[in-house]
């Protein structure tokens, strides 16, 4: 295969007496979906936070496109093209879709030739295009996003990430709070992103989802890698055993 997009090498992290991550290593390739599985407290969130810059590993390195990015702050990491979508989605619920897509990188225009003002219309139109590119249809672009469904909100958070050219997308339990039809929509969205060459890390408890969308699975158990399998070469039973530390 080509160069890995992301290469995690021997990352280690302790919180006091808790060894949350024990010399974990893995690669992520373009257009690949890697599932991150493991019981509660296995160290999944800690691991992705060391990638996204929220935590700095005690030892070990994170490489992105061959460059060592260990210890960069979250803003830097995102600007490089690694986007993390946490469960709360970090949407401004009281603002519309356009503004949410552009928050932090707003489009401005000038009125009367000198006064800079937010170009809400342009942002809304761009948002509409970005959503359409991903096959998402949102009718009410000018109402606060809190009035949209859970699936639509998830879709907005995802399209916000890829609009700004994320090459790595990390999703923490993206389908956990959704109904079945919406879960399906999000999974379709993941397929389309994959086709565009985005590398995706997908944390989930749900083995059905994992087997639906992933190419590979990395199972964590009490901070260490319990096993790494191609989805085509494993099954539910084996994954569950790995998660329980029994394989």
């Amino acid at each position: 295969m080509s160069e890995p997009l992301l290469a995690v090498r021997q990352v280690d992290k302790r919180f006091g007496g808790t060894h949350a991550s024990r010399t974990v290593s893995f690669d992520l390739y373009p257009g690949e979906v890697l599932a991150l599985a493991g019981d509660n407290g296995a160290g999944k969130s800690t691991l992705i936070k060391m990638i996204s810059g929220v935590y700095t590993p005690d030892s070990g390195d994170v490489f992105y496109q061959g460059k060592n990015i260990t210890g960069r702050n979250p803003q830097d990491v995102r600007d490089l093209g690694i986007e993390t979508i946490y469960q709360d989605l970090a949407l401004a619920d009281n603002l519309d879709v356009g503004v949410n897509l552009f928050l932090g990188r707003e489009k401005m225009k000038k009125v009367l030739g000198f006064l800079p003002v937010l170009d809400r219309k342009l942002m809304r139109e761009e948002a509409k295009k970005a959503l359409k590119n991903l096959g998402i249809i949102v009718n009410d672009l000018d109402i606060p996003v809190r009035y949209l469904s859970g699936g639509q909100r998830q879709a907005i958070a995802i399209s916000r990430a890829v609009y700004w050219n994320a090459k790595v997308l990390i999703m923490d339990e993206p389908t956990a709070a959704l109904g079945v039809p919406e879960q399906r929509e999000v999974k379709e969205l993941i397929h389309r992103l994959k086709a565009q060459g985005v590398g995706i890390i997908f944390i989930s408890h749900n083995l059905v989802d994992i087997f639906d969308v992933s190419d590979r699975i990395l199972v964590l158990e009490r901070g260490r890698v319990a096993g790494e399998r191609l989805i085509s070469e494993t099954n539910d039973d084996e994954v569950v055993k790995l998660m329980m530390g029994a394989a």
């Binding site: 009281n94 937010l118 009410d140 809190r146 859970g150």
Partner: protein
């Protein structure tokens, strides 16, 4: 999706419109009420409320008081905070400015001592605003409690500076500032109108304003957008203290003196104006123009009751009822949009 019968949808649309525009309608209603009362009741000195300059000027002056304190409050409340210290930071500003003028009278020309007093009063208030911001942003003190504490401190400092009572001044520029006219309008009204436009622009059209809304709607959304939330929060409380200080200076000009508790009676009306204007306690909503309407409604009620010669205690009852009404409508509006919208909400 929307499967309502057309008729149900239409009445729903009308309801939605009403909950959005109720403060405008309410404004018109209170105006009409006092107009009709003064036409059909022989007791008022003039038999029209709206069409006489004296009452228009009085209403605008009342509204200006509430508005000066409410402008800064509006942005703080949108950010999901509250600033209860403005009642006494404004009094402190008036006292600080008055003491400066008093000490410089005879040494410096009136316009110079007034200018220094304005700067001194504003800086003193902003110092307290900065402290509020630090507490809320850095020490994570809930703004309700933190600013209540600051309010106490400001009150004490104001009385200490004033030596326990009112600080009277003799300054022609200050008197003109508080009582003069510009283009047929009282100078405070003109200044308040200009500040209102600036605040409206800031909140509705700039990144600063957008981040205030984002922070109030979901703090994490602002963090994620790379907003320096600490600096932003501090600036909001400083701005709040700034507009409160302007209130204090108007007071000093109008009554030729600084008074430690000048702003205290206005605080409740200022907070009420913001909520009548469409803000919500949970943050993320509210507008400057809404607050202007809120301030106007309260001013009309306040002055109108004097105008039709009802006992002044009716003011408290009327204002209290309007606040409750505003909160009820806020809740109702949310339920309506949720019910008729395209999703099940959060």
């Amino acid at each position: 999706m929307a499967v309502n019968a057309p008729q149900a949808t239409r009445s729903n649309e009308i309801l939605k419109f009403l909950t959005k525009a109720w403060s405008w309608l309410f404004l018109i209603l209170v105006l009409l009420f006092f107009e009709l009362w003064s036409r059909f009741d022989g007791n008022t000195r003039v038999n029209t409320f709206i069409f006489n300059i004296a009452s228009v000027q009085s209403v605008l002056l009342y509204a200006t008081q509430y508005l000066m304190m409410a402008l800064g409050l509006t942005i703080v409340i949108i950010s999901a905070g509250i600033d209860l210290s403005v009642g006494f930071t404004s009094g402190l500003a008036s006292v600080t400015a008055a003491v400066i003028i008093k000490n410089l009278t005879g040494t410096l020309p009136d316009y110079l001592s007034f200018g220094l007093a304005v700067i001194g009063g504003i800086l003193m208030a902003m110092l307290f605003g900065y402290f509020n911001g630090l507490m809320v942003a850095k020490l994570k003190v809930p703004s309700f409690i933190g600013t209540l504490g600051t309010s106490g401190v400001a009150r004490g400092v104001a009385f200490l500076i004033a030596g326990g009572s009112t600080v009277a001044i003799k300054n022609t520029v200050a008197r003109e500032f508080g009582n003069g006219d510009l283009l047929g309008l009282p100078i405070p009204v003109v200044i308040a109108a200009m500040l209102t436009l600036v605040f409206h622009y800031l909140l509705s059209s700039t990144k600063f304003g957008l981040y205030v809304y984002a922070m109030g709607g979901n703090f994490n959304s602002a963090v994620r957008a790379g907003v320096n939330t600490t600096r932003l929060t501090i600036s909001l409380y400083v701005l709040s203290a700034f507009t409160a200080a302007i209130f204090g200076l108007f007071y000093m000009g109008r009554f030729s003196g600084g008074k430690p508790d000048a702003g205290d009676p206005v605080l409740l009306n200022a907070v009420a104006a913001v909520f009548i204007g469409g803000a919500s306690l949970t943050g993320g909503s509210g507008t400057v123009m809404g607050t202007v309407i809120g301030a106007l409604i309260l001013a009309i009620i306040q002055f109108g009751l004097v105008f039709i010669q009802l006992p002044p205690f009716w003011q408290f009852i009327a204002v209290g009822l309007v606040i409750i009404l505003a909160v009820l409508i806020d809740q109702f509006r949310d339920r309506l949009i949720r019910g008729g919208g395209s999703g099940e909400g959060r």
